[in-house]
Amino acid sequence: MEQEITFRGHQISHTDLVRSWVIIALTISCILVTVIALERDVQTIYPQLFFFPILYATYFYPRRGILVAGISGIAYECLVYAFLFPDSLSLISATGQAILYICIATAGAYFIEKVRVSEARYRSIFDNSLLGIVLFDKNSFAIQLTNQQFGTMLGYTADELTSLPFSEFFPSMEARQHFFELLGSSADIRNFETSFITKDGKPFNVNLSWSRIEGSTVSCSVIDINERVRARREADDMAARYRQVTESSPTAIVIIRDRKIVFSNPAFSTFCGYSPEEYYGRDLADFILPDLRGAFLAFSRQWETGRSLPSRAEFRFLAKDKKIRRGVLFCTPISRDGIAATLVNIVDNTEWEEFREHVEETTERRRDIISTVAQELRTPLQPIMGYLNLLLQDPQTFGVTEETREILERCIKSVDQEKQVINQMLELSVMDTDETTLNYSLFSVPELIHGILEQGRYLRKAEIRIDIPVDLTFEADRNKIEMVIDAMLSNAVAYSKPPRKISISYHSMPNHPFHQLAIQDNGVGITDARLDEIFEPAGLPGQDRENHERAGHSLTLAKKFIHLHGGYISVDSIVNLGSTFTIHLPKQAPKGEERI
């Protein structure tokens, strides 16, 4: 620090004081020398002497230099007047000298001021720069000058830095070696990324650019790139993780930009059979089945125009092996390298679709077979039925005795039964294809049951006790429920011997979600092992035919109908005591679209 003293309210440093004294001393010396020279008539040197104080003053204090030049000019002029008057030539020469002093001082002051301003400007840039700036010697690496920012970056003070060689900041021999090699090459270096070590031993990422200025001095700018390095590392991590996810994904992933495939994962190669070299840069539409390309273009136009995309679209692709692959496309608009692109996930559902088609075909074929079988079975029944009807219609004409009549009636019953079985078989085949719909309505249960009893002539076959509220109503498909109850009653009759006792009762509590209608018989009962079997379609290979002989498909249908309503049938049975079938039917009918 320079010491300062106060003189008449002005702060004056020691240096300034010394310089001022030098200027004053030089000026006085010049005046004295001039006096002596004039007195002794030595004419050669005295006017030029004044240049010393003038230039000295101008150099350090440009404006005051002009003042010194003025004083010097006046002093010289006065001395010449005093000694040489009236030599007019000398007087003119002296005046010219005085003017010359002022001119030289002014010119000097102007240029020096200019240099000072420019230097101050650079100094300010140097000091305030966010870059670290170091000037060091190319050979010894001795630091000549640094700005404050450089010290701040690495945690050193300005004094500490001047005593360190620049090469000291490199953490490893390799890094230092690399730096030396680059420095040794003649070219100026830009953006050399390396790592420095701070005073407390932490790594510090920097970007160096340097150029030689004069002699062996190198000027080097140092940029703090810690943030950039961290961000890049994070991005790399993200990219690595992203790559891992996409590469191991079973879903084919493609990124499309400007209609071209710019990215894909291995699953896409597997899906289409082509290698990345074969599809990069090509349009995804090239891999779609030719017939569907128009539809695909319409679909892809939606993502090009930025309109909201459908959640999924299915397309058929033509793989390299000429086989058709089916893919469901899910598209998401993304930005890749700052440019809008589309991320397409392709879920391969080829096998699923083939399987579904196969199932559909099989079901369709089975329905056709059943339909044909039904026709073939029904047709020959017609003459039998017709002739039996005729015989019974007019027994006298055909000579039918009472005994024969009974036999014929039994025959008709069998034909009726067969007709029922065929109808049930058709009903089941339709139900397998889920085409059955329910027609909900609100109906009276006692009325329905009385109708069934009358229709099936059950009262003739068994003693039936009915214990249900007279105002009981169900909201369900009336026809289906009728068939279910009829099946239950016919089953109860079929599996018991006279005297048959059947009871129909209702058990549900008002707040219970299900209606519970129980049909109890005093029949042979069912062993636990066969409880599940009774609901299976009769006549399938490997099943006990005897058990299903009379029940046919009616219980299977009953179970399916109740399931369609969202309910179920439970069975309680004790062998040789009887069975209780309970229909559990939801009280609340499904609303609107919930209905099947």
């Binding site: 026709q375 017609q382 003459p383 039998i384 039925m385 017709g386 009807n389 058709l426």
Partner: protein, 121 residues
């Protein structure tokens, strides 16, 4: 006057039986075993009702029906389809023909009587 019913059916046992049944019911039965002959017969002498099998060759019951209604313009003759096929009821719903009914084989004497009477009212 006995009313005339044309039975178009390619199965001879059924045809024989139908003849007896219709006679019993008091109608005059005209038995024809294929659609083309039946169209000719109907054109010559329009019956009161036609009992029509669906699965026939060379023309099916459906084709017969179309030609009867469109070509011959006989829209006021009731036709009772007489079929064992389970898909006919569904088709029938879409026809919207008030004079078109159906009897599912095997049909009983009572069913036949009711069916015919319904359309001959």
């Amino acid at each position: 006057m006995t009313r005339k019913i044309v039975v178009v059916e390619d199965d001879q046992p059924i045809l024989d039986m139908m003849e007896l049944m219709l006679k019993k019911l008091g109608y005059e039965a005209v038995l024809i075993t294929n659609g083309i002959d039946a169209l000719e017969a109907v054109k010559k002498e329009p019956p009161s009702l036609i009992l029509l099998d669906v699965m026939m060759t060379p023309i099916s019951g459906w084709e017969f029906l179309e030609r009867l209604r469109e070509e011959l313009g006989m829209r006021n003759i009731p036709v009772l389809l007489f079929t064992a096929s389970p898909t006919v009821p569904e088709k029938l719903e879409h026809m919207h023909d008030p004079l078109l009914g159906m009897l599912q084989k095997p049909v009983s004497f009572q069913e036949l009587k009711k069916g015919i009477e319904k359309y001959l009212r």
